[in-house]
């Protein structure tokens, strides 16, 4: 008799396609080989996890065909089983897996399309957050604005690809024109993916706006974000970029570099500083 932990390890090993002798010895046959009983469980695990990946990556399913997707998913699940029970959080590394999956070698854009689908899935389920009241920003003294760090909505992510992955995604939606073609020579794209009131959206960005939002994601302040944006695009318009973030309710927090006016934790509603 093995310990509970050993039994679970042996069971999990057999489920994920490893040797099943250790766990088979613990199982009562009841008229059937233990291996056949384990197979019932294994079947369920692979079917439901494949379905979870299909739900997150519908465009990849369409691009490679459902049967090939199931083949790739099988290899992925064996090496990368979920680490937690929320299946909407499963599959983040699927794009990296596809990038290294030899049968997909000729589909160079595939991994980036998967990254777009993951970003959309992430946006859909991201934590809710309270939007920053624009009045808070106007209450910040001008000499402190430069040191302000903005926290963007948890659903927002940025993605850069050498392929026209936005066009590929659109051409593979239900109801899309089947005759339409996407030229891979169309070039790359920088995308912002986020959840707005109507649902998850993405949009192409200019190099400047992309660098601007990326700077906040990496913890830089407004001064440095503006410098990054202007070096990517000299015509970058700071007021316009800030206005857009505020109008779309994508700023959920702000703090100055100096700790004295930090407005607190990530989910706190910022309160205007007393003047």
């Amino acid at each position: 008799m093995s310990s509970p932990r050993e039994l679970e390890r042996d069971f999990a090993t057999a489920i994920l396609g490893g040797p099943d002798e250790a766990i088979a010895g613990q199982i009562q046959g009841d008229g059937l080989e233990p291996a056949a009983r384990i197979a019932v469980y294994r079947h369920h695990v692979f079917v439901t996890l494949t379905e979870a990946l299909e739900a997150t990556y519908p465009v990849i399913v369409r691009l490679v065909d459902r049967r090939f997707f199931a083949y790739a998913a099988d290899g992925y699940i064996r090496r990368n089983p979920p680490v937690g029970p929320c299946l909407f959080e499963y599959g983040e590394s699927f794009a990296d897996f596809l990038a290294a999956f030899p049968p997909c070698r000729d589909l160079a854009y595939l991994a980036d399309v998967a990254r777009l689908e993951w970003a959309m899935n992430r946006a859909l389920h991201a934590e809710d957050a309270v939007t920053l009241d624009p009045r808070w920003l106007s209450a910040v003294p001008p000499d402190e604005l430069a040191r302000l760090k903005l926290r963007l909505h948890p659903s927002l992510s940025l993605l850069e690809s050498p392929w026209p992955i936005d066009q590929i995604w659109r051409a593979n939606q239900p109801g899309a024109d089947l005759e339409a073609t996407v030229s891979l020579d169309a070039g790359g794209v920088r995308l912002e993916i986020c959840r707005l009131e109507d649902g998850v959206v993405f949009r192409p960005m200019t190099p400047g706006t992309y660098a601007f939002e990326r700077a906040f994601a990496t913890g830089l302040d407004l001064q440095r974000a503006m410098e990054a944006a202007r070096s990517a695009d000299p015509s970058f318009d700071l007021t316009h970029a800030l206005r857009e973030l505020l109008d779309r309710e994508l700023i959920v927090g702000a703090s100055a570099s100096a700790p004295s006016i930090d407005n607190g934790g990530p989910r706190c509603k910022p309160t205007p500083r007393p003047c």
Binding site: I27, I38, G84, P85
Partner: protein, 291 residues
């Protein structure tokens, strides 16, 4: 120990349906006459439209949060982060019922997305009781624990499943979610008598009953029943449900359907059938009281 007030969350007992993503829009739009909606807890632990929609439905329906990921029967300590997320959802939704399974679903950092079987022995009984107590203390309420569908038994498993569940209820104050389809499936798979299973269950601890469809598969020439929640409730399971109501009295009942999801009306028809069984059981109970 926590008092199990939640057992009487629905008086009189009524029938609910499992709410799955493809039906949500229709339920929102038509608000069918159904007593409660049961959802899988793990699908609502993020933000965004899923949990906001559930919160809206909560105004019109009692909600039952049915978890699959706490691994109550596992060897690892409880996943605190997961438990705290469940607690957050319980506080937000204020469900009528909270339930989980007598199973484990992963260990050592891998989650296998299945309700996996454990041997039933004294050390596991003790460990599972402790985990249920921890969950109940964290959530501040009693939970229901469901009997899983089983496709294998362990050589060393000296306690029967009904005894194991009865002992969990006795030791922790948890209720039992009796899935009669799982009783039927497991009993069939091990050539056991499902009636004897029901007779071995304590009469005062059943807080909810599940009914669902199952599939009949061939495994190396032997028929094995699979709890796939993918069809109408089978006739022998309705019979078993009637027998359970006769033994346990009218208990809130849920019709589960997960794969090959039909039109919502099919699910509601199944619920109506369960409701007729329940009315019959309530009639019997009234006659007993009158006598």
């Amino acid at each position: 120990m926590i008092a199990c007030d939640e057992r009487s969350a629905f008086t009189p007992a009524h029938v609910g349906v499992g709410l799955r993503a493809p039906h949500i829009a229709e339920v929102m739009a038509t608000r069918p006459a159904i007593a409660f909606l049961e959802v899988h807890t793990e699908n609502y632990l993020g933000g965004g439209p899923a949990v906001a929609g559930l919160e809206r439905l909560r105004h019109d329906y009692a909600v039952s949060l049915h978890g699959v990921g706490l691994s109550l029967g596992g060897a690892d300590p409880l996943d605190r982060r997961h438990l705290m997320r469940v607690k957050g959802l319980v506080e937000r939704i204020q469900p009528a019922l909270v339930s989980e399974h007598l199973a484990w679903s992963g260990g050592g950092g891998a989650y296998l997305n299945h309700l996996l079987p454990l041997p039933y022995d004294e050390s596991r009984l003790e460990a599972t009781s402790r985990r249920i107590e921890q969950v109940q203390e964290t959530l501040g309420r009693a939970i229901l624990v469901e009997n899983p569908a089983r496709y294998l038994r362990f050589r060393h498993s000296p306690i029967s499943e009904p005894e194991f569940l009865s002992a969990l209820a006795r030791r922790t104050g948890c209720g039992i979610l009796l899935d009669v389809n799982n009783v039927y499936v497991s009993s069939y798979n091990f050539d056991e008598d499902p009636h004897a299973y029901l007779d071995a269950m304590p009469t005062g601890a059943i807080g909810e009953i599940h009914v669902a469809g199952h599939a009949t598969n061939d495994a190396d020439g032997r028929t094995i029943l699979i709890d796939d929640h993918g069809a109408c409730v089978a006739e022998p399971v309705w019979d078993l449900y009637g027998r359970a109501l006769a033994r346990f009295g009218p208990v809130p009942t849920l019709v589960e359907w997960d794969t090959n999801l039909p039109e919502l009306t099919v699910l509601l028809d199944e619920a109506a059938r369960a409701e007729r069984f329940l009315r019959g059981a309530q009639g019997r109970e009234r006659r007993v009281v009158a006598a």
